[in-house]
């Protein structure tokens, strides 16, 4: 689960990391109030950043400076009117604009291959780090945290010297260890600070330079949310497709796509394979949907609602290989769901494995179209969708013509 920058910063702050103060505003007026506070505290200008869970907000005009409270209000209004990659901006973060001396990259990630938390640092911060990885991989320095003890101080020191942050050694060590601590405490997969920056500030005895986290990105392990009720509250429901919430509620793994063939499968690998075969047969999957192991009739019904809620769906392909999941349970769920469904969509069902015969009997009785193999099921579903689309086009064309 991704969380917003402001929430990520809160989690880093809890670990004692140096993060300049910020406010979150939902309206231009709130942004103005926040900006006034920073100006009163001596800020030369403020930065206003769109809070969206997709990347590239800078390029999309979602990050702007403002030199006065008036300007801050106006800028916030513009940003709050944006849609970034289809996501409407509903919140902005307001903070005093930092005087940046130099930007760095620092990230901690769970690395599958080494089964370690890997901490990465680079002197090329503030830019797309994938770009750096591609163009100059040697500019990214890595340290592999001990699987039982975490990141040792000396490893953080090595990174600090590698990226030229020797003069900020203690601060860097604290921040790098804080990233790993943040991962552990919150069960995060990823904790990124980009940029980590040396900023110039005015202290009581003149200008001082210090190392601070200017941005923060955290991804949480969904499997661990049950033990972090506080983090579950950071889920941004504003940005979430309502279908996602319903899928989550029913323990269904669901990702909405652009095609016309709704898929209902048990198992993630088989679900992806089903999508691949739909594509091979010339169709486009409308979703990834894994009903999980041991699904009962009610979960099948919920999955059907999710699929049908997508108006683009022209046909449904159900592919179940029973193991823990009992085929007859699924069949019953399908029959029940069809009886109550809002619109009629052709459906192709393939059920093999545990209790497949009983399932076949039930489906036959209810006049479902079935298939023996997955390949056949995919082909039938694509054909059915094509027929629906052709019908719709031929139905629509005269109507449009008639209105013209």
């Amino acid at each position: 689960m991704k969380i917003q920058e402001a929430d990520a910063k809160s989690l880093l702050l809890t670990q004692g990391l140096p993060i300049p103060d910020w406010s979150v505003a939902r309206t231009p007026a709130e942004a103005r109030t926040a900006a006034e506070r920073f100006f009163a505290a001596g800020a030369g200008s403020v930065v206003i950043k769109a809070q969206v869970l997709v990347g590239g907000r800078g390029k999309a005009g979602g990050v702007k400076l403002a030199a006065t409270a008036n300007e801050a209000e106006a800028v916030a209004e513009r940003i709050l009117g944006l849609s970034i990659k289809g996501i409407p901006v509903r919140k902005v973060l307001v903070a005093a604009a930092a005087v940046i001396v130099k930007e760095y990259y620092l990230g901690a990630i769970l690395d599958r291959a080494s089964r370690r938390i890997v901490v990465m640092a680079s002197a090329e911060g503030g830019v797309e780090i994938e770009e750096v990885a591609r163009a100059t991989p040697e500019a990214i320095h890595r340290a592999s945290a001990h699987p039982l003890l975490g990141l040792f101080d000396y490893q953080a020191r090595e990174l600090a010297f590698a990226v030229g942050l020797g003069p900020h050694l203690k601060s860097f060590v604290r921040i790098a260890k804080g990233l790993v601590a943040t991962m552990k405490v919150n069960d995060a997969d990823l904790v990124e600070v980009n940029p980590l920056a040396i900023v110039r500030e005015t202290g009581p005895e003149g200008p001082v330079e210090r190392l601070v986290c200017l941005d923060a990105k955290i991804t949480l392990d969904d499997s661990a949310l049950v033990r972090h009720p506080g983090l579950e509250e950071m889920r941004d429901l504003d940005e979430e497709d309502p279908a996602d919430a319903e899928a989550r509620h029913h323990d269904i793994s669901f990702i909405h796509l652009d095609g016309t063939i709704g898929c209902m499968v048990n198992g993630a690998g088989l679900a992806m394979t089903t999508m691949d075969l739909v594509k091979r047969a010339g169709g486009e999957p409308a979703n990834f949907l894994d009903i999980g192991g041991g699904a009962k009739a009610d979960r099948v019904a919920a999955a059907m609602r999710l699929i049908l809620a997508d108006s683009k769906v022209d046909a449904i392909l159900v592919n179940i290989f029973g193991g823990i999941t009992r085929g007859d349970e699924v069949a019953r769920g399908l029959i029940e769901a069809r009886a109550r469904q809002s619109r009629e969509v052709p459906m192709v069902v393939r059920i093999v494995g545990t209790n497949a015969e009983e399932a076949a009997h039930l489906l036959r009785k209810a006049n479902f179209e079935t298939a023996a193999s997955l390949d056949e099921a995919a082909e039938k579903a694509v054909a059915a969708a094509r027929a629906v689309a052709t019908e719709a086009t031929s139905a629509a064309t005269p109507a449009t013509g008639g209105a013209a």
């Binding site: 990630i109 089964r115 499997s223 990702i255 993630a268 690998g269 088989l270």
Partner: protein, 294 residues
């Protein structure tokens, strides 16, 4: 012979009195697996499966009393890592963890302790393994198998069943089928299993079933390119049309060095001389084409 499990397997089921544990223990027992013990703390002294399996409070007790050498863990996610460590502590050398939903960071120390103890963990979130005609451990339906000489290794559950069923339907039997699990942090990788198959005299061909994400397939392919040139192999990668990964952000893309897409995995496997299926149903024909005569 077979790998990981076989006739010499003496299985203890951790969480045998739970709903899933009991159901699948019965399946395993009916398949012919030597299920010698169950463990549920507090139920020591009772029996499970209609008196067929004694239940112990601890794995140590089970090992001492029954000589168990392999464990299958059905304990819920919150207690599963500890259950794995208990098995290791009791001297169990092969541990299958079926449990799903274990937080990934819990598995980091767990797999490390297992490794240091010289034991082997398969999973978590894996369907287990079957050596047809000998033993099955886990939740793979026994009915899909056929005795034979093809080793199967997979990250998926039901997708594996699909592939195995296709092989069995085509008259191709399996030496051992292993589901290694799809979680980010797992105990046994594709590479580990390939090495076991390579050392198994009864395995004459290998099927690898992968997925997008991570780089485990590429690592296995690199090893196979060097060590398995003479072995007939076929593979399938799920997720050719899947949208970009939703879990990992910038750092994920960096760490995998740009790897992890289906196209890259397919390329790596093909470079290693492995025949690639575009549907699981093609696997039997590809094995034949690769020279498999079993």
């Amino acid at each position: 012979m077979s790998i990981l499990i076989g006739r010499e397997t003496r299985l203890v089921v951790q969480g045998i009195t739970g709903r899933e544990g009991e159901f699948h223990s019965r399946q395993m027992l009916d398949y012919g697996t030597h299920v010698v013990a169950g463990v549920t703390p507090g139920k020591g002294g009772l029996t499970a499966l209609d008196g067929r399996v004694p239940v112990f409070n601890t794995v140590a007790d089970a090992v001492r009393e029954t000589g168990a050498n392999t464990s299958c863990v059905f304990v819920p996610a919150a207690g599963a890592p500890d259950a794995v460590l208990e098995a290791v502590g009791a001297g169990i050398t092969t541990i299958f963890c079926i449990t799903e939903g274990i937080p990934a960071l819990d598995m980091l120390p767990t797999v490390e302790v297992v490794r240091q103890a010289g034991a082997r963990l398969i999973g978590p979130n894996c369907p287990g393994a079957t050596s047809p005609g000998r033993a099955k451990v886990g939740i793979i339906p026994g009915s899909i198998h056929r005795e034979g000489t093809v080793g199967v290794v997979s990250r998926s559950g039901t997708l594996t069943y699909e592939a195995v069923q296709a092989m069995t339907d085509a008259g191709i039997g399996q030496s051992t089928c292993v589901g290694i699990g799809g979680d980010p942090i797992i105990g046994t990788t594709f590479l580990d299993v390939l090495q076991l198959f390579a050392a198994d005299p009864e395995t004459e061909a290998i099927v690898l079933i992968g997925e997008i994400g991570g780089s485990a397939e590429e690592e296995a392919a690199a090893w196979a390119a060097e060590h398995l040139r003479g072995v007939p192999m076929a593979a399938f990668i799920a997720g050719r049309t899947a949208p970009e990964g939703k879990r990992m952000g910038h750092a994920g893309a960096i760490i995998s060095g740009g790897r992890g897409t289906a196209a890259e995995k397919v390329a790596a496997l093909e470079t290693a001389g492995i025949r690639m299926a575009s549907s699981p149903t093609e696997i039997p024909a590809l094995l034949r084409a690769a020279g498999y005569r079993g």
